[in-house]
Amino acid sequence: MAEAGVKKGILKGILKFTAILGAGFIILAVLKNMLAAPSEDGYRFFPLIGSRDWIWIVAQLHLNFAAFVLGVPIFAVAMEFMGWRKNDDRLDRIAYDFTKLFTLAYSVTAVMGSIFLVSLPLLYPKFIDYMMKILGPTWWLYLIVMYGEVFVCYLYFYSWNKLRDEKWQRTATDTGAFLSGVNWQKRMSRKGLHIALGVLLNILGATLLLITSSWVGFMTTPAGVNADGELVSRWAAIHTHMWLPLSIHRFVANIVFGAGIAAAYAAFRFITAKTDEERAYFDWMGYTSAIISIGASLLLPGVGYLLGVEIYSFNEQMGIQLMGGFFAWLWVMQSIMIGAILFFINYYLWISLQKMPGGERYYKYVKFIFISLVIGYVVWLIPHDVALSLEEARRTGTYHPALGKLGVMAAKNTAVILSYLATFLSFAIFRMSNKEATVSWAAKGNKARMLIIVGSVVGVLAIGIYSYYVSAAVRVKVLSPIQFGIFFFALVALYVLDSFMYKGARIIGEPRWGKMPERSQYALIAITVTFTWLMGMLGYMRAGARQYWHVYGIMKNTSPDAYLPTHGYASIIVTIVTLLFLLLISFVFWSIMKLEQVLGERKGS
């Protein structure tokens, strides 16, 4: 993907995409005729690793790339918008770098999508026929929207320089004319148009997300069909219990994941940078991406909770099995990983204090945040251990006699919220560490800060304890949302208070971007690796909630793979997916570096 004219670039992109998709359809048609007919109950078997594992790996890889290419444009266009409003070229550059990343990743996403497109109807023809019968029109809509997405994506990328050239020319040649108003209007309209393209790209991306979530939603929480699986209402089959909460969850998770990958890219570039200037830029890019990722992840427990509520309201058994039955220990695994991510980001922020003049004033608080994180981590790790067998239930009762009390959601919600609150404090400290408030009410402001922090911690803890003494319905529908409410109130209150308190503050010194030990960048890489593994595992759990059903309660999986494997086996597959994904994404990183090198050489010559 070299820099090209807008038309040429779009044409190249569309042709490439059509070639990948077309190849998929042709291979599908050829293999359908070449391969033996499926078994009586509608299955073909993939050699060596079996159909389930093959689909598992391909689907998760496609999903990871899709999450990346749908997530990054959201904050790329937000950065571009901020750069435009603040007249900040650095923000425009980071937005362009994000755009380079997802535009290049589109090709890999399309290749993975095509492999998936070929594999699924060949290996599971009966299931796909059924899905097409119920949701077929959405598949064709998906193809149309995808073409729109590809078109706008390449248009957005290739028109970037065209739609900002004028500003550069203008600012370089005639500052007076730039401020006079006429050119300002013109500049606004061109950049504004480009940002509008970015918004359109995100609208199309969100539409794709809604369509694909409707498929998963129907498989897991089916509606719109009768007991025999015959279609009654297509809209009801789309608008299932899971549809919107899953879409919202994926939307937020895509931002978290996409920004995580962007942070890893920046860390990779920081480590391989040859000049201080490059190091400073990629240090800043890594920080910005990591904060977007972790900032968006603050929403995940809340939107995950919404998804959980919908699963429970669809089928209580499914909800409980998912949260505390066979998967109980995978939630512990999730806790290990999210806890690790919180430790990595806190570690990164604590190291970052070194580059902030005045940051040393806050070192003393680090140990308290660390202790809070450790306590939260321990509670979070305790499993909601429902007895898995009759013998175990006879021996221990339904829940573990000693740890059961800390394994339930009352304790976990409290621990998670307090851990996130501690992480937000690390961020708030970092943000303010090179400033000194000069407002007359600074002392009172500090007291108010302390009051918000202590008040929210006490409030969350008190509700957590009270949750043990109420019915499940009150706990789930009333108290947990209040806990999240307190958390978000504390976040907003602290943010607003700090914004006023540090307005016109004395700057002790500008951040020394690039002056970071290399180990800080490994923390960013570690966040991304952990996120990727976590995505793979949660993807498996979401699919596993259906147990031995293709469509829960409607279409049984009668293949030899109709069972949930051991957690160890699932870990092997998730590790393979993670390593393959990281290998492919490093190829994307390498391609960008190569592209920049080629363009640099061309400019030089």
């Binding site: 505390g324 829960y552 699932a570």
Partner: protein
Amino acid sequence: MKKGVLKLAIIVIGLNLIFLYIGLEFLPQSESRPPKVIKIEEGISPDDLIHVGEEIVFGKGQCMVCHPAKPETGMRAPAMSDIGAAIEKEARERGMTAEEYVFEALVNPSKYIVKGFEDSMSRVDKSPTSLTDGEIIAVAAYLQSHGGKVTLSYPGSVPILKDQIAKSGGK
């Protein structure tokens, strides 16, 4: 630069291996297989029927994910320990036999909700639980055995069960 990239690769692979090791060595390793239909012989003794019911309650019926063994604060569904006595009491209050009541609770659970609980149970004769007539009777006998009198038998109680299924609008 090369040293940095090498360290990076070590971190990526190392973290993956750590997660894999936890998955393989620290998590319990069992598979979850689809439940099989339990064959119940006609004329099965009450004790054997209760035993089969217990297996289903703790196995394919997945009843214990909501119903605790003993009463607990904040429980989602009535506890098992005295459920047989509760069935007889509620049945009397509603002017039904215990058999009718327990079958209604299993195949038409939304019809009557015990005070203090929510309408959250799905019927056991339909997907995804899909218990057979014999299995439902075994579960009902197991429930009766907790503080109540076991009056159900297989296939003797099938007509009462069929009647409740018909009343629920099912086949």
